[in-house]
Symmetry: C2
Subunit: 727 residues, 2 copies
């Protein structure tokens, strides 16, 4: 592949991108797409929709870019939460470090690579093969390797510096977020699992006895977890009662039903025991426990008087049998993944192992499509396999398209299947919260991408030769060092296609767009699409993969860096726009993404250094080799320091902070009321509210009286017909 | 090597052992050796020594064997503590599992191996090469491999079953030990390190403020840690004052000095501020803090009102900066390794990494003597290197001696240097307790032994060929599978020499014996040797290494198993005798050894299975290969289950237990007095008491009034001339 082929590929992608961005700027103005492109805003206010056709609606405009550019981080923090800011920090960090790397690469490394061989070999630049710009062009044992070495030092040290300050500021942001957030039920609660079964009493009584005996001074109450099946049955019964009431009292039915269905705070619905008498009573929210048919699970949310007491209960080994009375920090109420709470704790470790095995198997099964893609970049092989294609490839343009563009597109399509699979595996693993599920899926997708997109593509050829390559520990780095520089072309086109195109597709949401058109056009549904929360598990691994590719090639083939810079810049605008307009924030992990990001970046750095080290070795530059070893050691020590200094903050909440918050609470009187509402916060039966107003309310788990009235007033009776449990 | 050579070797060793045991039974009756062989008993009572020469004293007798055999586990638990019982459990476990393995090996595997080739090849049994009894003798693709497979199943499943019950009973023993022990200062205390420095106040004030603010309800007080240098200086000053007093008041000096040196409870000595006025005041134990010259370290022992509060403070992340206010469970007062408390916490992670690197470097440097030893077993090579030896080796007896006996002896001598080195590295690592130091050294020695004694010997030949072997991951197991069965002979002689001989040397303590004779004969010192605590860090790895060798060869060359059984049986008697008579128990880890033992045993089991699997592969027995995989998976799952079920008990103390103990304490009134004495328990200045009475007293950290009087009365004024700080 030469420069002109790269430019062809870049040209196609830029054209596609620009067209898509224009299209987006028109589509977003169409009222029918509001629910698609303004999920967050719709969740807050019901916009007055202007269905009149105006010319303005069909003129592309860059206004969204200006808006996305101008908004400050503080505003994003206020509207979208810590996780969104942390996500954007990944983009900003990448922009910064690759700006430095690109500067060093273009002005220091690129000339050295280009003039690495005798000048008279060079062709006219557009005809020049891309390999001329990579480290492969430098002569064996050249004295110019100090330039690469210097570039590596600059990149690594800048990256470490930036990483340190990012980690520091994100840790501070996390603590500040905890400090300034209003009393959060999650902070006062602990999820207890593996409650031991006693034949003569219910789980609920066991919990009560245990915590009254051992933690009496701080124990407040608890809320059992119930079997999903039972809950669904109860919901159905309630629904039946509702229908009966509705048919009996058609006249003043609406009020009756509302009192029968006292839609609780934050869109939750409390279940009535099925006796009709209780319906006549007013809200004292008949408890789920009173219904005899409800089956308890050996898990409960236990509430404490102070945050510190809850934190302690979550950290300490409660029982002499470590397999019973197992505690975890309770997720926020909307973050709880109820389905997994009924898993028996004794099976959890088996599930974890099973899902790990499944991830590994899936990663290796995926070799099949990847091998096919790899075949496409080697045209000769393709000619051999499909002789009838030979005529087609005689046109130079076609061959460029197939080698430069098609492999990445096919790989991209296959990769679409990965995040849902990993999400499924995270569910099987038994994550108890939605953020935990996403975090687990995020890591799995990341390993998957780095393995399948990077390593497998690099260790190219057939499946069998790859396994051979793995079997020899000694030859592995040398083989990688030989293979990686030659694969620079593939990854450049990968950045162009997968990177740029995926950003425009993220902006456009083509699948949802088509579905929306289909729904409105064919199914004639008028209600809006549900706003979803940000898909961290797909977007974070993507960014980190591009970072990994960028670091790896930063000195080997620095031409990739400008392409990456464009990617990250576009990403900066697109993700800001999406976070502001599209995705809603139902729950928060408080920046727990960052340790993964940090570790992956350090891994990328060390990988870059080690690969460069072996490339220097292949090129017989002993001095450069020797200079690299201290850098590798420094990077590893830096990582260890950061792990000691910052990581505990992301695993635990400092007692200092919690105690200070508790001490402030003691002064105020609101906490009493809050304590009384704790049990209501963790109610298992939540309804998917079709009204976006409700989704927004979900983020205020502590209901004020006003909220309560609002939701009772606006909940249509048809609610109970919705799918009763979120999954 | 053939059977007769093995018998020669065994004969030499049995003779040596018997002679040593006889010698021991005589030497132990000599009064001059009492301090050597009855350290524990001497620590309790001052025996009336009978210096009259009687004939009885020179008649060997097996009475010690009877005593060691008869004593019950409950008695050992009462006298020597949990750690000693756990140690003996390793021996008992090994005896049990190798009895089963030996039974299966001799009656099932050995015949299959022996008749693996055609009968007419066999020689007369004593002339038979040892390899005829190993799996190497079985034909390729033989159908008899089911016997080996069955043997592996029986051994593995029995081992898992025994391991499970051992883990369960030791966990219960640990909890029972905690439950029944008298109030222990360690349970009420937390070691706080990395106290942040504030320019306007002392560390002590910072600690007080911090804990009063955040843990006011349970905070009781604290005791700062001081610089070692300062402490030594203070001791010297005190000594000077003592001398001055002694010279001034020769008449009634003794009483004066005693009031000036109020030897505190449990043999500790409080320091006086150096003004002579304070000397006239009576005991209110002037605090170390009052002396202006004392320099505080950023570490302190903080005391809490209840065990639970201390446990919580040790587990929770106290501060928003994880590198300050770092807490650990406080070791028992006599377990504290004071020297390491003054290490700056920020350097600790670097020290840990440095000691890890040092261990790895040491392990590879050790290859040099091991390679030399390996050379000795290959006589041809030796002939080549030292041609002048050829004459010597013409005698068959000599050649048998050199190949069968000498290599192990040389290796053994080199191995003597390992435990002290690893102990030093454990100190550099920054362990805060003596038990922690021993535990860390124990693990290091274990890795070292398994690597250097086993793997390096197996992957024989020169250093370079070993590194080559390591470089190929794929060939590694095959190479091991090929090498291990051929090395059975070496390990049989290793068990004979290193195993049996090391036990008799443990019993005899030859080095100490010679030193004792030298001291009494040449230096004319009359006082007794100090009793030491059990060297777990040398003995546990030895036992585990023999277990590892036993498992590995249990089906490959089952002839090794009877030799091991003899070793473990002898070990059972010797270690019981030593624990009862020689070593004293100053401090306890509460059985924290066992998880290491468990993990190593599971590693041995899995290693045995995998090596057998590859041996079956080499022998082209596909069915046996397939049968082994479920067993490996089962063993790994079993280990994971045990880790989940039991390991947390060894890392934390269950809150349930602590709270129950606290609740019982509340009822009694003694706890008030105990609280008042807490600060005194952690006094940095301890004196090595020359009186064994004192060493025994050290194990009662909470002094009664009587103790106090006793120690004041019996402390001679010369005390202060002793080395003031233990190291």
């Amino acid at each position: 592949m030469n420069i002109s082929a790269l430019l062809t590929s870049a040209g196609i992608n830029i054209a596609v991108c620009v067209v898509l961005l224009f299209l987006y700027s028109i589509l977003r103005k169409q009222p029918s797409n509001f629910s698609l492109y303004f999920g967050r805003k719709l969740a807050k206010v019901n916009p007055t929709r202007d269905h009149h056709v105006r010319l303005q609606r069909f003129v592309p405009s860059p206004s969204w870019i200006v808006k996305a550019w101008e908004i400050s981080e503080a505003e994003i923090l206020a509207t979208a939460g810590v996780d969104a800011v942390v996500f954007l920090r990944i983009v900003v960090f990448s922009l910064r470090i690759f700006a430095v790397a690109a500067f060093v690469g273009i002005f220091l490394v690129l000339p050295v690579n280009y003039y690495g061989q005798e000048i008279h070999h060079h062709k006219h630049i557009p005809r020049e093969s891309l390999e001329v710009f990579s480290i492969g062009n430098v002569k064996q044992g050249s004295k110019w390797f100090w330039a690469h070495c210097l570039a590596l030092y600059i990149t690594s040290l800048t990256a470490c510096l930036l990483l340190y300050f990012e980690y520091k500021s994100i840790a501070a942001m996390r603590l500040e977020h905890i400090r300034t957030s209003p009393p959060n039920p999650g902070h006062f609660s602990v999820l207890v699992r593996a409650i031991p079964w006693k034949p003569d009493e219910s789980y609920s009584d066991t919990v009560k006895k245990f915590f009254t005996k051992y933690h009496g001074s701080s124990y407040l109450g608890h809320q059992m977890v119930y079997h999903r099946g039972t809950i669904q049955k109860l919901m159905a019964e309630t629904e039946k009662v509702c229908k009966m009431l509705r048919s009996n009292n058609v006249g003043h039915g609406k009020n009756m039903v509302q009192s029968a269905l006292p839609a609780g705070p934050s869109g939750t619905l409390r279940i009535l025991s099925s006796e009709p008498e209780s319906i006549k009573r007013k809200p004292p929210f008949p408890d789920v426990r009173t219904a005899s048919s409800v089956k308890e699970v050996a898990a409960a949310f236990v509430f404490f008087k102070t945050r510190y007491a809850a934190d302690v209960a979550a950290k300490v080994l409660l029982s002499a049998n470590p397999m019973s009375w197992v505690t975890n920090y309770a997720p926020e109420p909307h973050d709880v993944y109820w389905r997994n709470l009924s898993i028996r704790y004794r099976l959890l470790w088996l599930r974890k192992i099973a899902s790990l095995v499944a991830v590994i198997v899936f990663m290796f099964l995926f070799l099949i499509p990847v091998t096919f893609v790899q075949g496409l970049t080697q045209l000769d092989q393709l000619h051999h396999t499909f002789p009838f294609l030979r005529g087609l490839f005689k046109k130079k343009y076609m061959s460029q398209l197939v080698t430069g563009y098609l492999p990445s597109v096919i790989l991209l399509l296959f990769l679409y299947a990965v995040p849902p699979t990993m999400m499924l595996l995270a569910v099987i693993e038994g994550c108890i919260s939605r953020t935990g599920k996403k975090k687990s899926a995020c890591r799995k997708v990341l390993y998957f991408l780095i393995w399948n997109v990077f390593f497998v593509n690099v260790l190219s050829g057939s499946v069998i030769s790859q396994i051979d390559a793995l079997s020899s520990l000694k030859e592995m780095p040398t083989q990688l060092a030989r293979a990686i520089p030659t694969q620079a072309t593939f990854f450049m086109t990968y950045v162009l296609t997968s990177g740029w195109a995926s950003l425009s597709s993220e902006l456009m949401q083509p699948m949802l767009l088509i579905w929306n058109v289909f729904r409105r056009g064919v199914l004639r549904q008028k209600d809006d699409l549900c706003a979803v929360s940000f898909p961290y598990h797909t977007e974070v691994p993507k960014l980190l993969l591009f970072g990994f590719i960028g670091f790896t090639f930063s000195v080997l083939a620095p031409l990739i860096l400008p392409l990456l810079l464009v990617y990250f810049f576009l990403g900066y605008l697109v993700y800001r726009n999406q976070i502001l307009n599209v995705y809603i924030t139902k729950y928060e992990s408080g920046g727990q993404l960052w340790p993964t990001v940090h570790n992956t970046t350090v891994f990328s750095l060390v990988f870059m250094q080690i690969i460069s080290l072996f490339v220097f070795g292949l090129k017989q530059s002993k001095t450069a080799w020797v200079f690299m070893i201290p850098l590798v050691i420094f990077t590893l020590l830096f990582n260890e320091y950061c792990r000691q200094r910052f990581h505990p903050i992301f695993k635990n909440t400092p007692a200092e902070l919690l105690i200070e918050m508790d001490q402030e609470d003691e002064k105020s009187e609101k906490i009493e009321a809050f304590h009384q509402n704790l049990e209501l916060a963790y109610c298992q039966i939540t309804l998917k509210s079709p009204d976006p107003q409700k989704s927004a309310d979900l983020s205020h788990p502590i209901p004020s009286d006003k909220d309560l009235e609002d939701s009772t007033a606006s909940n249509p009776p048809a609610l109970a017909q919705q799918n009763p449990t979120e999954n």
